[in-house]
């Protein structure tokens, strides 16, 4: 099972990075989403994989899954949502004046006033 998870982490990372390196903004957003899946999986995997023993204290249970990586990842998922939206909005705001969605333009704004409306 560990091999499958490691493979999934590797595959998601590779796909995410390939997409992030594209020149336009939608693949970048998509790539960031895939990357955050893989990183979240990776962090949970750092706590070692455990089946059927969620970290909810119960009488009689001796071992639990590691709760710490889970707590870290839980906030990461929610922040990931916010950053995904932020990234796509950034692409949106930048792409308003020119009629294409070149992500490479983000770092050097053209300086002309966006024609709103």
């Amino acid at each position: 099972m560990e091999i499958l998870v490691a493979g999934a982490i590797g595959l998601l990372t590779a796909c995410g990075i390939y997409l992030v390196l594209r020149g336009s903004s939608f693949p970048v957003v998509l790539g960031l989403m895939l990357l955050s899946y893989s990183v979240n999986l990776f962090i949970v995997a750092m706590g070692r994989l455990t089946v059927g023993r969620p970290p909810i204290v119960a009488a009689g249970a001796a071992t639990y899954a590691d709760p710490l990586p889970q707590a870290l990842v839980l906030t990461a998922i929610v922040i990931g949502l916010a950053t995904t939206v932020f990234t796509i909005v950034l692409a949106l705001a930048v792409s308003v004046p020119p009629r294409d969605e070149a992500a490479d333009r983000v770092a050097r704004p053209q300086g002309d006033e966006p024609s709103l409306r």
Binding site: E2, S25, R48, L49, I56, A71, A82, T84, V89
Partner: protein, 929 residues
């Protein structure tokens, strides 16, 4: 009467809080009010210090220690001993005179509040330095003086030279301050304490440590940059662009003396070793001679005084470096003497500039007949500077000569030092002579901007006071400052100071002869320069430390530019490719990975059919994302599938909280991204070459393989974790069985507070980015069509249901999977559905409902839960819990963490809905009905 333990903190707090506030407020009405307010505060602080003086003079230093951050050794420890008393009196006494002087100096266009508030800040920080008994606390105040002096030097911010001078002073003293802090840390590590009085007790241990030379050099760098010692002196002349009251205060009596103070304060710890003696005396002597030499050739009145100050600071540094008891007495004595005569000279120079409109000595000659009163004062002060008998400068200079001459028995280097001192002394006489002769005599004024006349009566009072002190100390040293100097010197050298006498007349001695020679030589030198060389035509050399500094700065900036352009030329993909390239190198390079590709000894989980199927689905969906990334909707569906599989994986691997969260986030993300996509223009053809595709594919593959390998390597090895603590204490101390939830709302609540703040900031960022972005939708008429009836009805029914569910999920969160994050997301999903069915402005979800306010109240509630813990005397965010039995419901587990969770809930709902509303606005839906 103030409690002794409060006296010192109060003395600092008065200018720091009352001084800055009152000056800033009073400065709005008039400069007189601001000066008066600050003068009262300063006088009060001086009174407090003087009230403690009898105890200090009786040999009992006053001290206060309050813990601040015990973990790093930082304590608010103040201690008033002889040295601190001498400096405090100088800082507050001269400060008082400077305030009075500035009242007349500042023009109607100069904002007074700004000036006096900055002066008060500086004064408080300076007082903090001299009173600190903790190295780290001293460093804190040290940095504040750097910042405050930056503000004071740059007070006339419209002038380019003032801005440059301020920046230069900040850069030089700031770098020195960092070096000093590093030195402090080394000492603190060696000694195991940062309390100065404690380290003094184990000074031998510090000096024998191999880290001592590094610590010494670093601390001396701090002291030398602050005290404008060669070769860090160039910021001092550049700082002359400051208003003259600032120069009189900072560049004679206080700021530059902070470096001297540091050497004196740490002398019992660092001093006495050959390294200390050689470095400090050499730097001091070079600065003394160099400053005196350059001062003679300065045409600018304040420039002359600046280099003269540098020279005198070198003299004091030299004396502190000598390993002899009497040199310490001389150093401490000269600190006070130099402060009085130099402050009065700066003030006199300011008066002259004020009344004639220039500082160029080539133009103002023969001012004596126009300003006899100012002239008298300036001549007396300049004589004290030159070391004329009957004035205070004579006494300390005589002691300095005696110490320097004593070196001649120490072989060649000692002899060289004696001769150098003699030469420097002659130059000192020469520039003092020039100051008097060129300004007040030497012919008639040449085309002055203003007709010269005397200054206002009270502007001269501070100068008169200082000159009176010069004379009084010069005539009766033993009766005036003798005890204070003695006490301060004992604080530097230790209690076993041999008997000595500071007196006007010691008979015909060798130092007296040297004095006479210096006067004769200096007068001759000046005469020769003026008559033979024609000093007024002297053009300063283009070569200067300042130019080296500026060239260095320019080089550094251009190096930074070139480096950053090399990494980021504007193309996102290029920067990212570089970043991932580094990741690959690090991952492949780390031994962890080379070992980790092979599986470890931890038993693997059995492979299940479900696992294989899930992995296959995930692989297909991820690859589908890549292949169809141009087809936005298709790609989004694929990424949703990936999210689903990931959330199933979380569920399978005992992370139910993550599974639920991931599931709901998936829904919200999809909806929000879809809304944004409606606005995002379609990409044109991608221009990347096949070469670039393969480069990216190889890079992505490498990172993927290495990260996967790393994960496998870790997963197949047993590890240690700190989680046993959370598992053991979650129920007894956190009051919840769901450890993940207790972690988020209790153990690591501070972290969570930060994270929901990030969420809120992101929402604000979205609002700011989309502010005003609104345009008619291109070919999206189908989006304007009303939602299907069935959907609209379902959404209407779903909202209350979803709210109930989220309340349930919220409440059970502390003991079972759930909690504020998930509950917030569920509520958001229901609201989202409602929006899709009816439109944001469709009436049921008011667009201006104030989601920002909801977010803010979430943050406030979470923060207030943390602050409430203070009320119970516990650290920030400590939780309390109880289990009251409520009729009908039974035992109700209540924890303050639940309130914190409520904050999370509100922040999540507010953030999500705020982003939705902004996106809807940008989609042009606001105009729809």
């Amino acid at each position: 009467m103030i409690a002794p333990s409060l006296a010192l903190p109060l003395a600092i707090a008065l200018p720091l809080i009352a001084g800055t506030t009152l000056a800033a407020v009073a400065g709005r009405s008039s400069g007189r009010a601001a000066a008066g307010a600050l003068a009262v505060v300063t006088a009060a602080a001086l009174g407090i210090v003087l009230a403690s003086a009898p105890a200090v003079l009786a040999g009992q230093p006053v001290s206060t220690t309050w813990p601040w951050i015990p973990g790093i050794g930082l304590a608010f420890s103040l201690r008033l001993d002889g040295l601190a008393l001498l400096f405090s009196v100088l800082i507050l006494g001269i400060g008082l005179l400077v305030i009075l002087y500035a009242r007349y100096y500042l023009g109607p266009a100069d904002p007074p509040g700004k000036f006096y508030a900055r002066l008060a800040l500086f004064m408080a920080a300076m007082l903090g330095i001299v009173l600190s008994d903790n190295l780290l606390l001293l460093a804190v105040f040290w940095e504040i003086t750097s910042l405050a002096s930056f503000l004071l030097i740059g007070y006339w911010q419209h002038r380019a030279d003032a801005r440059e001078g301020a920046r230069m002073a900040l850069a030089v003293t700031g770098v020195g301050g960092l070096a000093m802090l590093a030195g402090f840390l080394l000492i603190g590590e060696t000694a195991g304490s940062y309390e100065i009085s404690a380290i003094v007790g184990i000074a031998d241990q510090v000096r024998d440590d191999p880290r001592y030379p590094a610590a010494l050099i670093l601390i001396l760098l701090g002291a030398f940059t602050k005290s404008a010692q060669f070769p860090f002196h160039f910021w001092l002349p550049a700082a002359m662009a400051a208003p003259t009251p600032v120069s009189a205060y900072l560049h004679s009596a206080t700021l530059v003396k902070a470096g001297i103070f540091l050497i004196a304060r740490l002398y019992p710890i660092l001093g006495g070793t050959p390294l200390f003696t050689y470095v400090v005396t050499t730097v001091g002597l070079v600065t003394f001679v160099f400053g005196a030499y350059v001062a003679v050739f300065k045409h600018d009145l304040k420039g002359l005084l600046a280099y003269s100050t540098m020279s005198h600071l070198g003299l004091i540094t030299f004396l502190l470096g000598l390993d002899s008891p009497l040199s310490n007495v001389a150093a401490v004595f000269h600190i006070g003497n130099h402060a009085t005569f130099k402050a009065s000279l700066f003030m006199a120079a300011g008066i002259i500039e004020h009344e004639v409109g220039t500082r160029d000595m080539r133009r103002m000659n023969g001012l004596w007949k126009y300003m006899p009163h100012t002239g008298t004062l300036a001549i007396v002060a300049a004589s004290a500077m030159a070391g004329v008998p009957l004035l205070n400068g004579f006494l300390s200079k005589e002691m300095f000569f005696a110490e320097a001459l004593a070196l001649r028995h120490l072989g060649f280097l000692g002899g060289l030092a004696s001769v150098t001192v003699a030469v420097g002394a002659a130059f000192s006489v020469a520039y003092s002579t020039r100051f008097v002769h060129d300004v007040f005599f030497n012919g008639e004024p040449r085309d002055l901007p203003r007709p010269p006349h005397e200054a206002p009566r009270f502007m001269k009072v501070p100068v008169e006071v200082l000159v009176t002190v010069c004379i009084a100390v010069g005539l009766l040293p033993g009766l005036t400052v003798g005890p204070l100097v003695d006490l301060a010197a004992r604080a530097v050298f230790g209690a076993d100071l041999p008997a000595y006498s500071v007196a006007l007349w010691h008979g015909f001695t060798l130092p007296l002869l040297l004095s006479a020679l210096a006067f004769a030589g200096g007068a001759l030198l000046y005469w020769a320069l003026q008559r033979q060389y024609n000093l007024h035509l002297h053009v300063p050399s283009r070569w200067s430390a300042r130019r080296i500094y500026l060239a260095f700065l320019a080089g550094l900036t251009s190096l930074g530019d070139r480096t950053s352009i090399g990494f980021a030329n504007g193309a996102l993909s290029r920067s990212l490719a570089l970043l991932f390239g580094v990741v690959v190198v690090l991952l492949v390079g780390s031994t962890q990975l080379t070992v980790g590709v092979h599986t470890g000894e931890r038993p693997l989980l059995p492979l299940t059919a479900l696992g294989v199927v899930a992995a296959l689905v995930l692989a297909v969906a991820a690859l589908g994302c890549v292949i169809w990334h141009r087809e936005r909707l298709v790609a989004l569906v694929f990424s949703g599938v990936v999210g689903l599989v990931v959330s199933i994986a979380f569920l399978y691997f005992s992370a139910p909280d993550l599974a639920i969260t991931q599931l709901v986030v998936e829904v919200v993300t999809t909806v929000l991204v879809l809304m944004a996509l409606a606005r995002l223009p379609r990409s044109g053809h991608e221009h990347s070459s096949p070469l670039r595709h393969s480069r990216d594919a190889i890079l992505a593959g490498l990172v993927g393989v290495s990260l996967g390998g790393l994960a496998l390597g870790v997963m197949t090895r047993p590890g240690t974790t700190i989680s046993w603590y959370f598992l053991e204490n979650s129920l007894p101390r956190g009051g919840g069985a769901n450890v993940v939830s207790v972690l988020l709302t209790d153990f690591r609540a501070y972290d969570t507070l930060g994270e929901i703040t990030v969420l809120a900031i992101t929402a604000l960022g979205v609002v700011a980015l989309l502010d005003g972005v609104r345009q008619p939708k291109p070919d999206a008429d189908h989006l304007r069509a009303p939602a299907p009836l069935l959907f609209a009805v379902a959404a209407r029914w779903l909202l209350p249901l979803a709210i109930v569910v989220s309340v349930y999920v919220f409440l059970r969160g502390h003991n079972e999977p759930g909690g504020g994050f998930v509950a917030g997301l569920i509520t958001a999903v229901a609201l989202l559905l409602r929006h899709i069915a009816h439109g944001v402005s469709g009436g049921t979800v008011p667009r201006r409902f104030g989601y920002t306010r909801i977010t803010a109240s979430g943050l406030l509630i979470a923060g207030a839960t943390g602050v409430a813990a203070w009320g119970l005397g516990k650290p920030f965010l400590t939780s309390v819990h109880a289990e009251p039995v409520v009729p009908l419901i039974g035992a109700l587990p209540l924890a303050s963490a639940t309130l914190f969770d409520l904050g999370i809930y509100l922040a999540v709902v507010g953030t999500t809905m705020r982003m939705l509303a902004s996106l809807a606005d940008a989609s042009g839906e606001a105009g729809e009905r």
